[in-house]
Amino acid sequence: MDNVPRIVRERLRNQAAVGEHPDANLLSAFAEHTLSEQERAQLLDHLSRCAECREVVALSALPQVEEERVAAGRVSATASRSWWRSPVVHWGALTAAALVVLIAVGERIRLREGHSASAPAIAQYAPAQRPEEQASEPAPATAEQKKSPGVAPAARTRLRADTVNAPSSAGAMGGVSGGNPTMEPAPAPPPAALPMKPHPSADASKIEGPLFDKERKIDQAQAKAFPVPPTASSHALEIVGSSGAAAKSAGKSQAAELSQGRNATFTMKERPSPRWTVSDSGAVERSFDGGRSWKEVAIADGVTFRAVATVGSDVWAGGSGGALYHSADGGGRWARVRVQASGRALGGDILRIEFADTQNGVVTTSTGESWATSDAGDTWHRQ
């Protein structure tokens, strides 16, 4: 990027801030693009002249790498709970079991019959069991292990390096809060110390105490009682570009790859974490080289996309006419998600998608509506 003349930078720096500093409400609404045009223009005018408020806006934006890191941690935790439910693991295990049975039966027949005709058949199996080939072509069980959470630390390590190399969000503050190479990126245990006074009208036994020690004391079921209870009729999911049968066949093909010793999972892990964006023309684009080049991702015809969000391998894209699409495999296959509740559907264009984790997200529309989900898009409620 070309430099501007020194005098421009100097005069830009010396501009006097106008009016009072905006409060956290306006700054967060600005960052979330929910201000009216007039308010936004006024705020931008202030921000363009006030380095301090620009710093607050920059600091309060969760860095994208940080989002991915946090999401990766949560997704790997989820994966550790539900890895056995994966169709790939299921099919792989079944294939492995079938192979073991076949070998055992063949061996039994050979021992029982004991005639020389069985020798060629055994010879056909023999090369596949040589140690060097086992090393180069892992058995299905090995592939499953790679799919298991044991791989997650490697992925986290890569993200950790990204985090450390990311530009300091406090760069304009003289580097006071620059990246710390020794920072432990994994979610830290809750801090222990926070001496709190009881609130006068709250039950001190429940509220008092360290902020971050409270987690285990709170009944999660109680907390879930606050959002709208999910209803079966409030959501409909349809597969885009592939029917349910096609999805099943995809699962079968993955199992077939595993049975042939191909480690599809390993290949995917080797790919760099993609970056996602929406182009000016409303197309969803993906970059595998850190943003140097972008390639359009075909999701649906006739939709002008306005927002995209990622949480690990979950990708959400939304745009015109309230269209919302979800991919659970990093953009491979997409499903249309209907955002509706009690017979009322989301209105306007989707302008913003925020997912704090794989389950909890909010979409905001051009009409000012905000719809939230707490179950990965299965059900929604209007906020």
Partner: protein, 303 residues
């Protein structure tokens, strides 16, 4: 009969909209679940509408504004401020970890993050009393953005304030120990640039759109990346890139034209913009440092 007629003030916003609309907003907010009555909630809506809307706003405008608020989060925050136990339980479950994550993303260091988050939590909880009342920071949340975004912005403000306070308190010795080097007074005062240059630049900057000025400041002063600016403004990186080039080029042309209009020749104007006497000084400094094999002067950035 009294001789002075009392002039009624503007009617509260919640009274200017239909009762059924208030009830709908109240239901949508789930304020009842966290212990807020409809009357309390209507009062909160009044307060927020009065803060952001003109007094003469019509019902439709008020309703559109109120429907755009994060009602559920607003009810939760205000119920916490009112001391409702159920609200605190929900708040802690939903936001405790996020608060800590946000603090860590700001400070990039665990112990400072904990200190920052704990400090904000104390403010949210309301440990200080003001005029006999407990001052709870959650009372300032108005639902314009998400509660999580507000918490992050509040944390960032606190962090910047702390940094500023600390900078004021740090002594010269501490700064020197920390590695800061101070340039000696300039032995030969440099000729001041033509005052017309600064005046013209100010005028051209003032005439820019606020967004263009924000992009310039973010990129050239704060050192933000194109991606960071794009995320802040909700546009594509390439849009920022194109805009930066366009604005920088247009500014240069406008400043040059204006300087010509004020009496400079075009060549003089272009040279005034391209070559600043202070750039020459910096170059000389750089050459001296190279010759000595060590950095003689501390230079922030690489202007």
């Amino acid at each position: 009969m009294s001789g002075t007629a009392q002039v009624p003030g503007p009617e509260p916003a919640a009274r200017r909209i239909r009762a059924s609309a208030v009830a709908e907003l109240y239901a949508r907010s789930r304020a009842a679940d966290v212990g807020l009555s409809q009357q309390d909630f209507a009062r909160i809506l009044d307060e927020i509408a009065a803060r952001y809307l003109p007094a003469a706003s019509k019902e439709a405008e008020i309703l559109a504004f109120l429907h755009g608020l994060r009602l559920e989060e607003l009810a939760l925050a205000r119920a916490c401020a009112a001391g409702h136990e159920r609200a605190w339980e929900v708040f802690l479950t939903r936001y405790r970890e996020k608060l800590y994550d946000a603090a860590r993303s700001i400070t990039r260091e665990d112990s400072s993050a904990r200190e920052l988050a704990d400090s904000l939590y104390a403010d949210l909880y309301g440990t200080e009393t003001r005029e006999g009342r407990r001052a709870c920071k959650l009372n300032y949340y108005t639902g314009r953005g998400s509660l999580e975004g507000w918490l992050r912005a509040t944390l960032a403000q606190e962090y910047v304030n702390r940094y500023r306070r600390r900078q004021r308190e740090v002594s010269l010795e501490e700064k020197t120990e920390a590695g800061a080097q101070f340039a000696a007074a300039d032995p030969a005062p440099q000729p001041a640039p033509d005052p017309r240059l600064a005046e013209t630049t100010d005028a051209v900057l003032a005439a820019l759109a606020a967004e263009d000025r924000f992009i310039l400041a973010s990129y050239y002063l704060d050192g933000r990346t194109l991606a960071e600016i794009a995320r802040t403004l909700g546009v594509h990186e390439s849009t920022i890139s194109r805009k930066l080039e366009k604005v920088a080029r247009a500014m240069q042309e406008r400043i040059t034209d204006e300087l010509v209009r004020r009496g400079m020749s075009r060549r003089q104007a272009e040279e005034a913009l391209e070559t600043d006497v202070r750039d020459v000084v910096v170059d000389v400094t750089g050459r001296l440092a190279q010759k000595d094999g060590a950095s003689a002067f501390y230079r922030k950035g690489s202007d």
